[in-house]
Symmetry: C2
């Protein structure tokens, strides 16, 4: 597919201002020369920034927005102050209006979630958005969701997440029928939460061609890449994600300390410099930047707020991959299928009654 | 303190049989020569094993048990088949009868939890046991609880866990007034679960001299060692623990692969061999083996089932540290204090009404 993808950018979102966001756009452009951008934000400021990025100049359209959403604004407050007027809202509006294929923001997560729901609305059959992360594993990459959009999830919501995650896996990973695991705890004394067990039954019952239900997985399985998709509710998912980030940072520190701990170790580090550089690159958190909002009528990517150009470019590229691979069409087809299958159960139940 | 500690051992628990358990006892003895052991299990088998461990011979008393609890037995089934008769139950009974200072088992977690509750009973003021893990961090060690005894926890249970964890921290870590954090998710759109917020209020209200309530922490804070104690309910706690284990394994694999990825890297690994050996030792999961059951009238340590002698010795040593430092006295004093403080609130509320 050689589509020209148009990316709508909330240029005012994030901790580091529009210059970093635009540097990210320029970097994404070098890898995907057919991209173009609609940049939403303070026109004067954006024009000034673009002066330093000549390559970007012909690939952008600047749309002025009066309001910028602050990083610490509450979602309800952000909706009141920024609905229709903010760079964040306008970035979403471009997707809604069909002017762009996806929106990317490094702004306030809660505000972006609330505005996405209001502006783009939920897909039929999905009742709330979830955030999916692309998790680097020993086997490649695994989609983990929900990593923090909602606390708690009932069986149906968990099972639906499996369907959304599998569609995303088919769009991003080299896999046709992704395996889906439900995150659970394996201790014998606890047979898992009721909702998790019921979600397993639903996924088995739906028996979709688009995914392979694997069964329960544990925390250790995520990093091993046991399944292509791991489903959990947002509280545990966010804690898993943050704990893994913390552990990765901790081990990298140990390793760095070890390689500088003695004269001999430093000689070793000198010889292994090439390998260590490759490893640093592999572990660079900027290369896994970009949370994906799933379940909306449109592709929305949330970048970390404190990211630099390289990280923001990565978030853009995830969204571009999903647009090229028609993520939302895939999701809609699958969700329609489970709605139909669930209706059959309801009808059967009614006939019995 | 130069106490002679007696350790009661479920010699039949674990995946690898009594010879490994007893090798662990022998190893613990070399570091704590004043220890002695009561070994519960099949007398003939244990006698045979001890022949190969002459140092252990004078330090043990073997108590025969007819029944061994299987690793996959359900807790209810284990209670029926093993109450009063199994090596696991008898190991706990020795603690109850005052014959031993602590019990250690590498057996079935669920069965051990159920038997501990029945045999030792809960401490007054604590309504259910929790499992605490000692988590290696960049600053030293952090106590994380609950890592899987119970799914879900109300505000009072979470706050009580803070008190139990702080007592354990005072027994094990070089800290007089441990800092306690409540694990939460930091996204702006979600203000955290109600129970977590209410637990924070309780801890602030109790205002105990035995701990410093720090506030909310996120998953990333655990590995950084931000607080001495991290409190969460068992589902999220177990997932955090297993996810960290998985991530540590994943990064260790990356390091190993990097140091073998080229001729130059292998030369580097040769020079850095000493440092890398130290690092391997530091990351050895056997050195963080040993989950602690808190809230019972007695000290019970759960070892991983698939552990070797070194790992089992580590689990014993954790329990010995806690016995020497009067963990349960510390807990009882603190729990009595919070019960008194809560009664005052209840009385005030009644007067108002």
């Amino acid at each position: 597919m050689n589509q020209d993808i148009i990316v709508s950018i909330d240029a005012m979102g994030g901790d580091n201002g529009p210059s970093v966001i635009m540097a990210g756009c320029a970097r994404a452009l070098t890898r995907h020369p057919s991209l173009s951008f609609i940049l939403h934000g303070d026109e004067a400021e954006l024009k000034k920034c673009v002066e330093e990025l000549p390559a970007l100049k012909e690939k952008i359209k600047i749309v002025h927005a009066d309001v910028s959403i602050a990083m610490d604004e509450k979602p309800s407050q952000a909706l009141r102050s920024g609905r229709g007027t903010s760079s964040m809202w306008k970035a979403l509006q471009s997707v809604k209006d069909g002017d762009a294929h996806l929106a990317v923001s490094a702004g306030n997560t809660g505000a972006l979630m609330a505005m996405s729901k209001f502006c783009l609305r939920m897909m039929p059959g999905v009742d709330r958005p979830v955030i999916a992360a692309i998790w680097p594993t020993l086997r490649g990459e695994t989609i983990v969701l929900d990593v923090g959009a909602n606390i708690g999830a009932d069986a149906r919501q968990l099972a639906t997440m499996g369907v959304l995650g599998a569609a995303m896996a088919r769009a991003l990973l080299p896999v046709k029928k992704p395996s889906v695991g439900l995150l659970n705890i394996g201790e014998e004394e606890i047979k898992g939460q009721d909702n998790v067990r019921e979600a397993a039954e639903l996924l088995r019952h739906w028996d979709l061609k688009s995914l392979e239900y694997y069964g329960f997985v544990e925390g250790t399985d995520i990093g091993q890449g046991t399944t292509d998709v791991v489903v959990t509710e947002g509280f545990a998912g966010n804690i898993a994600l943050k704990t893994a980030e913390g552990t990765a940072k901790q081990l990298s520190t140990y390793f760095r300390q070890a390689m500088a701990s003695s004269f001999m170790a430093r000689i070793g580090a000198f010889f292994a410099a090439g390998a260590l550089k490759y490893l640093r690159r592999k572990l660079d958190p900027r290369r896994s930047n970009g949370g994906v909002f799933l379940g909306l009528n449109g592709i929305v990517i949330k970048s970390h707020g404190s990211i630099d150009g390289l990280g923001f470019a990565h978030a853009i590229e995830i969204g571009v991959d999903m647009a090229i691979n028609d993520l939302n069409d895939k999701i809609q087809t699958d969700v329609a299928l489970i709605s139909a299958k669930t209706e059959i159960i309801v009808e059967q139940d009614e006939q019995k009654a």
